[in-house]
Symmetry: C2
Subunit: 332 residues, 2 copies
DNA sequence: TTGTAAGCGTTATCAA
DNA sequence: TTGATAACGCTTACAA
């Protein structure tokens, strides 16, 4: 099955007894080819195990049919669902997806974006918060998926964090909790989620309240532990905690365990993002699903539209999240 | 910063007042270019924001300087460390890495390998267990990283699962446990890990023993729970359990919690792979680190060697794992 | 419906 | 040290 040098379109043409153009037409599924020639070409392709060179195709053609996806870090699992959505929207339209995280080809390219520009991608998807110094030419179609810092001329498709915060509030209030706590970090997403929570609690008829602990630095498990510690030290009356994300929620859970408090009997805990972690039976964390698949699909569609018409105004789409109740939250 | 059409080598040549060949030489860091011309070219490149087209480069050049990495699934986080190792070995040698999971461009390419062949990659890294039906030409340099099913002419760099099993045994025996349990699945890795465990226990002076539960199907959290259940039902004397991987260990943990057994006071538990999950404070799972970074580096080096000399015989390298003790194991 | 020929943006081979 | 010029493998008018 393996030859030395890969077959070229010339080899196929020669073997099928036609011109290279005819082979090219068959490759592009042109209807204006006689069945007879088509079959001959297909047969030759099979026999030679021919595969068009993407380099030659994108060099000769007018479009590269390639989309670059920039991830901040392969460690942040949420991109997996995002990719699923992007695939649905882009791949099925004949676009090839190329993914790179911030470090993938550093040393060769100054940044993943540089690499994509060299590849002459037709559009770029930034997954998550865009780096501030991404030098993307104004003419390149870009959509930010899941991030909030709007790039100059980019579309944005993101989770509605504020709505998610409201959902968290509704869930906990419905369970009968009136002394709520919020553990977050210094980030736009965390702020929005807290704002949604507070807005809902304030307008609740029951006179409920929220105690807040915002930690400096990254929203890590450790920050979650610290945050929960501070919260309970200052507000021991709190019976339900909403963490800005699942990782911080995990930190909260471990701190509660360290303090001998049971979940959910003594304190209810919920997170945000609905990571695989939350979904495990062992953790079973109530969380807010940010609907990454939807975000990916939306981002892909938006990108396609912008590629078709680069003059389109930049839009911002918010995707409604969804609550997933598990065993870390219970009625008071 | 963004123009309409990207600048070409012609534009650069014209602006610098030299020939395209000269520009090409500068691009390739050729020493045989006068400082004066070089500066002029570099200046023009800057001013035009020029970036060589990878398509044109790989079409005209003799090598694509691109390596394809096939992942089974972006969900399996272990590839992250593997990539780090691959980067160290390949990227720094001027090779570009392209990653694809099994589904990334299905519909366009029949498989990720097909896509890589179209890109004319110089080598392929298969991360994990290779699909049986990967049609890779014999002439393509391939190395399997982290998998065991040796492809015909491929090098293999993998974790020494049997050694890992022995380490698990040593750890638990040292802690004073004599009634051990193993919870695994039907896979080569699981078998090796069990074999290592048993070999060590059998040769222990203390007359220790291992009860085994091998679950059918995938090695999931649920299988871990089931396995642990069976194990304890049949062998209530077991005080320490070694699971074939962290996910199954998580299942074991949740089943233990469901049965009201404390970890590690009543039962010690350990897993394998040292996933991020295990490393969280909340889970704190003792595990065996399979040293994915090392595997990646080894695979990259091996691939480079094979690219340089395709006639090299296929080798198999085993990387020594490392035990990471956390809070789920304790002295009896 | 098919073939001819001119690019696409580079590298590589010669000469100069 | 530099510059023509021919590939590289394909697409795409334009002709036939």
């Amino acid at each position: 099955m393996g030859a030395g040098k890969p077959a070229t379109i010339y080899d196929v043409a020669a073997r099928a007894g036609v011109s290279k153009s005819l082979v090219s037409l068959v490759l592009q599924r042109s209807p204006r080819v006689s069945q007879q020639r088509r079959d001959a070409v297909l047969k030759a392709i099979q026999e030679l195990d021919y595969r068009p060179s993407t380099a030659a195709v994108s060099l000769a053609g007018t479009r590269s049919r390639t989309i670059g996806v920039v991830l901040d870090d392969f460690r942040n699992q949420w991109f997996v669902d995002l990719l699923t959505g992007l695939r649905e929207a882009l791949q099925d339209q004949g676009h090839r997806l190329v993914v790179a995280d911030r470090f993938l080809n550093t040393g060769l390219d100054a940044s993943p974006v540089e690499g994509f520009l060299s590849m002459r991608v037709e559009g770029i998807v930034i997954a998550g918060e865009p780096d501030t110094d991404l030098a993307i030419p104004a003419s390149m179609p870009v959509v930010v998926a899941g991030g909030r810092a709007a790039l100059p001329r980019a579309d944005t498709v993101a989770n509605d964090d504020r709505a998610g915060g409201r959902m968290a509030a509704d869930h906990l209030l419905t369970l009968g909790h009136t002394r709520l706590g919020f553990v977050g970090a210094r980030s736009a997403a965390s702020d929005e989620r807290r704002a949604g929570l507070e807005a809902r609690v304030v307008s609740a008829p029951s006179g409920a309240s929220v105690a807040v602990s915002v930690q400096p630095g990254e929203p890590t498990e450790e920050a979650g532990s610290r945050g929960l510690g501070q919260l309970l030290d200052e507000h021991p009356e709190v019976t339900a905690v909403f963490a800005a994300n699942d990782v911080m929620a995990l930190g909260a859970l471990s701190e509660l365990a360290a303090r001998g408090l049971r979940v959910p009997e003594d304190v209810s805990v919920m997170g945000y993002d609905d990571t695989p972690l939350a979904a495990t039976r062992y953790v079973g964390l109530t969380s807010i699903d940010d609907r990454s698949v939807e975000i990916g699909r939306g981002a892909g569609e938006r990108l396609l539209a912008r590629i078709a018409d680069p003059a389109l105004p930049a839009t911002e789409v918010l995707v409604e999240p969804r609550l997933v109740a598990r065993r870390t939250t219970a009625a008071r």
